[in-house]
């Protein structure tokens, strides 16, 4: 492997690791705030217990998210100095806003986690709301930067020099809205499903457990409300990509030949040499309909894109199908939940709970797959149509060393995290009466 590939791999690894914590860090505060709000309204102790439990999980995941996010902000310069030199002045602005949103989040998370008995209940809840809002905001700002890499705006090129910079226009680039909505919803849906799965697992052991029933109710509601909206947002973003990044779109769909009434290609093996996707399921006219809302509309295939501007078709197509497949499965689960819930309250049918446990990671899988679609699909560009990734890389040799180092660190952290979180969950298994586990983290350790 070349240094360039190691740099890309290190960046991909860092992002793939961080995005899980970023997403859950956006979703978890919503859940804990809802739980605490229900406690304030109903006075039921079990909701307070729940928000405290969720807050502990949030604390662990947020900390890892914060440090892995720091890694990324450095890596932008460590691995892609030419990109930062070029883009920093144009797109650094939303990063600075993100800095403040993140600051607010960190401050109020400190208050939330450690302030259970030091702040009035209402103020404590408001702190949680601020955490949830600022967490969402920081995600939004960061995604606008990625959107800019897909749809660069807010500057002009004169003789290869950047002029007439407008950072606000760069932030509000044509891809921002669709990407922001899609990623934000993804964070809530993924968190909702994974949390619902954990509590479904415990409910399978003890279906009467009030703690897990309440928890499942909140998490499943967030997930089931989010996923249909997410499918709509997915359609919006796909149309945008079809229009703005035809190479990425063609690779996503495994679509080689430019044609009218193009079929939708599902699965199969994209074959760049033969210019076709083998063994795929094809739905006639489906692609034209989805991309342009017209079954006879022409869809640009890869044949019309210069060969050196193709992304890796297999990765992009498979990742895209994986994401859409996961989305459909989650939609089906949401439909099932709604059907059961409409008939008899909280869906606690054992077969549903078992399916939910299996479906739990689908949201996170979809996030990873979607991230691969947008990042690998943009290649060979780091700034679409403006700068190639290969031209942005650091001159530093021996990049295998930091790659191996960070891989080792992240594998180590992942193993530990699973271990620590598993313990948290097992502790959660409350034969506990509400209140016993109600002490704030730290305080329960007796200081």
């Amino acid at each position: 492997m070349t240094d360039f590939l190691f740099a890309r791999s290190q960046m991909a690894l860092s992002l793939a690791f961080h995005i899980i914590f970023a997403a859950v860090g956006i979703g978890m505060p919503l859940l804990m705030v809802v739980a605490e709000g229900l406690h304030l309204r109903t006075g039921e102790a079990v909701y307070l217990d729940l928000s405290k439990r969720w807050a502990r999980g949030t604390a662990i995941l947020f900390a890892v998210g914060a440090v892995s996010g720091t890694v990324l902000s450095f890596e932008l310069g460590l691995l892609w100095p030419r990109f930062m030199e070029y883009a920093g002045g144009i797109i650094g602005f939303p990063f600075s806003l993100e800095g403040f949103a993140f600051f607010t989040e960190a401050i109020f998370l400190g208050i939330y986690l450690y302030g259970w008995d030091r702040t009035p209940p209402l103020m404590h809840w408001i702190s949680g709301i601020i955490v949830a809002l600022s967490g969402m905001l920081s995600g939004i700002f960061v995604v606008t930067v990625n959107a800019w890499m897909n749809a660069p705006a807010g500057f002009e090129l004169t003789d290869g020099r950047v002029t007439n910079i407008d950072p606000v226009a760069a932030m509000l680039n044509p891809a921002s809205l669709q990407q922001v909505v899609h990623m934000t919803l993804a964070a809530y849906v993924a968190t909702g499903f994974i949390v619902a799965a954990v509590h479904a697992f415990f409910l399978l052991r003890d279906r009467r457990n009030v703690f897990h029933r309440r928890a499942l109710g909140i998490a499943l509601t967030v997930a089931a409300v989010g996923i249909p909206l997410q499918m709509v947002s997915g359609d919006m973003i796909a149309r945008m990509v079809a229009q703005r990044q035809p190479a990425k779109f063609a690779a996503m769909e495994g679509h080689y030949r430019t044609e009218r009434g193009a079929p939708l290609t599902i699965g199969g093996i994209p074959d760049d040499a033969a210019m076709t996707t083998r063994y795929a399921l094809r739905i006639p006219r489906g692609l034209s309909l989805l991309a342009h809302g017209d079954p006879t509309a022409p869809v640009i295939g890869l044949e019309d894109i210069p060969r050196d501007e193709w992304p890796n078709t297999r990765i992009v197509h498979w990742a895209f199908d994986l994401m859409v497949g996961a989305g459909c499965a989650m939609l089906a689960m949401a439909g099932w939940a709604a059907w059961l819930g409409w008939r008899r309250g909280l869906p606690d049918d054992p077969w549903f709970l078992r399916a939910l446990v299996v479906a739990g990671p689908l949201g996170l899988i979809a996030i990873e797959a979607g991230w691969f679609v947008t990042e690998v699909g943009r290649q060979p560009w780091i700034i679409f149509g403006v700068m190639r990734t290969a031209d942005a890389v650091t001159p530093m040799p021996g990049l295998v060393v930091p790659f191996v180092l960070f891989t080792a660190v992240y594998v180590f952290l992942s193993v530990i995290l699973v271990y620590v979180l598993r313990r948290q969950f097992l502790e959660t298994d409350p034969k506990t009466t509400p209140g016993r586990s109600g002490a704030a983290p730290g305080v329960s350790r007796g200081g």
Binding site: T70, P81, G88, L109, M396
Partner: protein
């Protein structure tokens, strides 16, 4: 003042705030590793209570420095991250291990063995990360990082491997250790025996700081000649006097048991040191080839960045006041 210099000054202010808050958290980690005597466990707990609610927020100052740098001075950012690739990567590993170890320890205490293992990792990372931070700042001042045609021409080892940078690293470690111990004396007012432990530590590290400072100063003559030459400016004697007064004042206050005064003096001392470095360093961002003005981006971006920092300060200040009001108003 031009926006370039305003932003340079803002970056310095943010760096000072990081040193005063995040720096002290590193120091806390060092004392955690060095906890000893019959009250070792209680020392660790006091440190954890002092750091716990605020370390995440404190850490964001560092991210803000980076963001101001790459938004306002992208060329300089590219050069710094290229020339200092190796120590910066090591800093990242330190930051990741430290933060994770701290939070794992907090939520995963089952027995002393596990607790100790996380403490060791947390403490070790708290030791070497500030050393590397000092190393990097020393490298920027050294004048050994050279830039030709916008590209680093001095390789990947220039600046940060010299004796001056090493002295800066040691000095940063000592400074943060001293700062943390001094804060901890003020945090443990309700526990006199613990307070006495930290008083001893603060006095010891404060005294050790003097030779470290002298070493960095002597090495600067050859290790950072431009910076050293600046110390003949009109403001230099004034700043050195104030810094020394703060340093001595902090030690005297510690000796007499006036811990709040000691904390204030230590804050003054750290602030003066960093401001002095900033004054000696400007107009350079990387001595001697890159200036703030020369590497600044488009004026419109600078203006927006400045406005964002101002607006951000308006949001942050009350939030911080509330954070410290909740947790530092009475001992935990």
């Amino acid at each position: 003042m031009a926006d370039e210099l305003t932003l340079g000054a803002a970056a310095l202010v943010v760096l000072v705030l990081y040193a005063l808050s995040g720096g002290a958290d590193y120091g806390g980690g060092m004392w955690d590793l060095l906890a000893s005597g019959p009250r070792a466990r209680r020392q660790r707990e006091a440190i954890e209570h002092a750091i716990g609610p605020i370390w995440e927020a404190n850490h964001v100052w560092l991210i803000l420095v980076i963001v101001v740098l790459f938004t306002g001075f992208p060329t300089a950012f590219a050069v710094i991250m290229t020339a200092l690739h190796i120590p910066m990567t090591a800093i990242l590993v330190g930051i990741v291990l430290r933060g994770s170890a701290f939070v794992f320890r907090r939520y995963d205490v089952r027995d002393d063995a596990v607790h100790r293992r996380w403490s060791t990792l947390f403490g070790a990372a708290s030791f070497f990360t500030p050393f590397l931070l000092g190393l990097c700042l020393g490298a920027l001042a050294s004048g050994e990082i050279r830039v030709t045609d916008g590209k680093v021409s001095s390789g990947f080892f220039a600046g940060w491997t010299g004796p001056f940078a090493l002295a800066c690293g040691l000095f940063a470690q000592g400074l943060f250790a001293f700062l943390a111990a001094t804060y901890l004396t003020a945090d443990t007012e309700s526990e006199p025996d613990l307070q006495e432990d930290f008083r001893k530590r603060a006095l010891a590290s404060g005294l050790l700081l003097a030779p470290a400072a002298a070493l960095a100063f002597l090495l600067a003559r050859h290790g950072a000649p431009q910076i050293f030459a600046r110390l003949t400016s009109w403001w230099a004697p004034l700043l050195v006097t104030v810094t020394s007064a703060c340093a001595i004042g902090a030690l005297v206050a510690l000796w007499c048991g006036r811990f709040r005064w000691a904390r204030a003096a230590a804050i003054g001392q750290v602030t003066c040191i960093l401001v002095g470095w900033g004054l000696a360093q400007q107009p350079y961002i990387v001595v001697p080839d890159l200036t703030f003005v020369g590497t600044a981006t488009d004026p419109k971006t600078l203006y927006l960045l400045k406005s964002a920092l101002l607006a951000g300060a308006v949001v942050l200040l009350p939030s911080f006041v509330y954070l410290f009001y909740v947790f530092k108003r009475r001992p935990i």
